[in-house]
C-alpha cells in the first residue's frame, strides 16, 4: 500500500548524512576553526542563515550555520570547539570525512531588505551565520542603501575573519566598526559593548533593515538599542540557536514557546521573539 502523502514531509534525505571530505581547515581563533567541505555524493547547498547538521562519526551531531557562500564553492562551516562533538569536528584534518545533513531552517531576508539600508550586528561566533548575508549584500552592492557591519567580540584575539574584516573595512561603500569587551594596552580599536556602536551607525533608521546574531543576551540588548535608534521592530531579524537535535521539527528539543527553532527558524523576525527571549523559564 502506498504511503499517504504528507504536506509536511521532511525534505528528501533529511535524516541521512551525506559524506563530505574536509578540503581545508583554518584556525580562526584559539578555539574556532573554519572547515571547507567537498561532497562525496549529492551536494548540500545552504542559503545565508540556514544551518546543517554536522556528524562526527562515532561522536555525535551538531547544528552549525553556514558561514560561506556556496554559489559553486565548497560548503563552509565555522565551528567553535566547546564540547565533545565540536572538538572532534574542529580536529578533523584535510582529507577526513564527516557527515552532513541539510540544509535546514529559514534564511536572512536579503530580498526583503533589498532597497533599504542594511545594518548587520554580530557578536562573537554570531558573525559566522551573518558572513554569507554580508557577502551577498557586498556582491550586490547596488541592491542596498548604506551598509553597516558592527562586530563585537570578547577580546581582539577572539575576532573572527580578521583579514576579511580588513578587506571590508578598506571598501568605501561599507562601514565596518569593531569593538571588544576588553583588550590589552596596545589595542587601537574600540573597547565597549557592541550596543555602543549602534548610535553611530551610518544607516537611516527610517529605511533600514537590521540582521542580528550573537548570544541571546547580546541580541536582547541590541534589539533594545536598535529600537532606541528608531528602527521599526518589524525591520529587525535575529538568528537563534537552541538545542537543535533532529533539525526537522520532530524531537522538540529546540522548542521556545510556541516555536521550534530548527523548523521555524533559526532566523526570526525580532517582533516574534523578543518577548519570548525575556521569559526566564523558556
Amino acid at each position: 500500500m502506498a504511503a499517504p502523502a504528507s504536506a509536511e514531509a521532511p525534505v528528501r534525505g533529511a535524516m541521512t548524512p551525506v559524506p563530505h571530505r574536509v578540503l581545508s581547515r583554518v584556525q580562526e581563533t584559539a578555539d574556532t576553526w573554519t572547515l571547507e567541505l567537498d561532497p562525496l555524493s549529492e551536494p548540500v547547498q545552504p542559503r545565508a542563515g540556514q544551518f546543517d547538521m554536522l556528524y562526527a562519526f562515532g561522536v555525535g551531531e551538531v547544528p552549525i550555520s553556514t558561514s560561506g557562500d556556496h554559489e559553486g564553492g565548497p560548503l563552509t562551516h565555522t565551528i567553535r570547539a566547546v564540547g565533545a562533538v565540536t572538538r572532534a569536528l574542529c580536529a578533523l584534518e584535510p582529507g577526513a570525512v564527516l557527515g552532513v545533513r541539510g540544509p535546514f531552517g529559514s534564511v536572512w531576508p536579503l530580498g526583503e531588505a533589498a532597497g533599504s539600508d542594511l545594518l548587520v550586528v554580530a557578536g562573537g561566533i554570531g558573525l559566522a551565520p551573518l558572513r554569507p548575508a554580508i557577502r551577498h549584500a557586498l556582491a550586490r552592492r547596488d541592491d542596498y542603501g548604506a551598509v553597516s557591519v558592527l562586530v563585537g567580540a570578547r577580546t581582539p584575539d577572539d575576532l573572527l575573519y580578521v583579514p576579511e574584516l580588513e578587506r571590508w573595512r578598506s571598501r568605501l561603500d561599507v562601514e565596518v566598526d569593531v569593538t571588544v569587551d576588553s583588550a590589552a594596552a596596545g589595542w587601537h580599536g574600540r573597547v565597549g559593548l557592541v550596543t555602543t556602536l549602534i548610535p553611530g551607525a551610518v544607516v537611516d533608521p527610517a529605511k533600514a533593515s537590521a540582521f542580528v546574531c550573537g548570544p541571546e543576551v547580546m541580541m536582547t540588548f541590541v534589539v533594545r538599542a536598535l529600537l532606541e535608534r528608531d528602527l521599526p521592530l518589524e525591520r529587525i531579524w535575529v538568528s537563534l540557536e537552541r538545542n537543535m537535535r533532529c533539525a526537522v521539527g520532530h524531537c522538540g528539543h529546540c522548542q521556545l514557546g510556541p516555536t521550534l527553532i530548527c523548523r521555524d527558524g533559526p532566523v526570526f523576525p525580532a517582533a516574534a521573539m523578543t518577548r519570548l527571549l525575556e521569559v526566564r523559564e523558556l
Partner: protein, 155 residues
C-alpha cells in the same frame, strides 16, 4: 570660528542646557589637544579636570602586575572622560590615554564645582547628567561582566 559654548552644546551631556548655563560652563573650559599615546591623566592623581572628546579616541586603562595594561573602555567623540572631579576624594581611578591624536574640551573641575555650589539649580542639573553618564557606564560594565561571548557549551 565656533565658540566654546557652541561646541559644548554638541555633547550629549550638555545638550539642551539653556544658553546662560552653557556660557557659565564654558567659562571653566578650554580647547586642548593630545598626541597619540599621551596621557590625559594617571590613576591616583588629583582629579581636577575632565574632558569632552571632540575628535579621536581615549582609552581608559588599568594596570595590574600580572596582566600589564588593560583597556577597560574607550571614549569616542562627544563623550565624557572622567567624573571623579565631581566626587570626593577627587582622585582618578584609571589612566586615560590618547589612543589616537585627540582634540578635546578640558574643564576645570574645581571651577565648575564652585559654580554648581553657587547655583544649585545648575548644580543639580549637572549632577543629574553626570549621574546618567556614570549609570550608563556601570550598566555596560555589568553586561560585560556576563562575558556573553565566552559561555561554554556542551556539544
Amino acid at each position: 570660528m565656533r565658540t566654546l559654548d557652541e561646541l559644548l552644546a554638541e555633547a550629549p551631556v550638555f545638550a539642551g542646557l539653556p544658553q546662560d548655563a552653557l556660557t557659565l560652563i564654558a567659562g571653566c573650559a578650554k580647547n586642548v589637544g593630545f598626541a597619540e599615546d599621551e596621557l590625559l591623566f594617571r590613576e591616583g592623581e588629583q582629579a581636577d579636570t575632565f574632558y569632552v572628546v571632540r575628535r579621536g579616541r581615549v582609552a581608559l586603562e588599568l594596570h595590574t602586575p600580572e596582566r600589564g595594561g588593560l583597556v577597560i573602555e574607550t571614549i569616542e567623540p562627544h563623550e565624557v572622560v572622567g567624573w571623579s572631579w565631581l566626587f570626593e576624594p577627587y582622585r582618578w581611578h584609571f589612566d586615560a590615554r590618547a589612543d589616537t591624536p585627540v582634540r578635546a574640551i578640558a574643564f576645570d573641575g574645581a571651577c565648575l564645582r564652585g559654580k554648581c555650589e553657587d547655583d544649585p539649580v545648575l548644580g543639580f542639573e549637572l549632577m543629574r547628567r553626570f549621574a546618567q553618564v556614570a549609570i550608563d557606564r556601570l550598566q555596560h560594565a555589568r553586561l560585560r561582566l556576563l562575558d556573553v561571548y565566552g559561555g561554554a557549551g556542551v556539544r
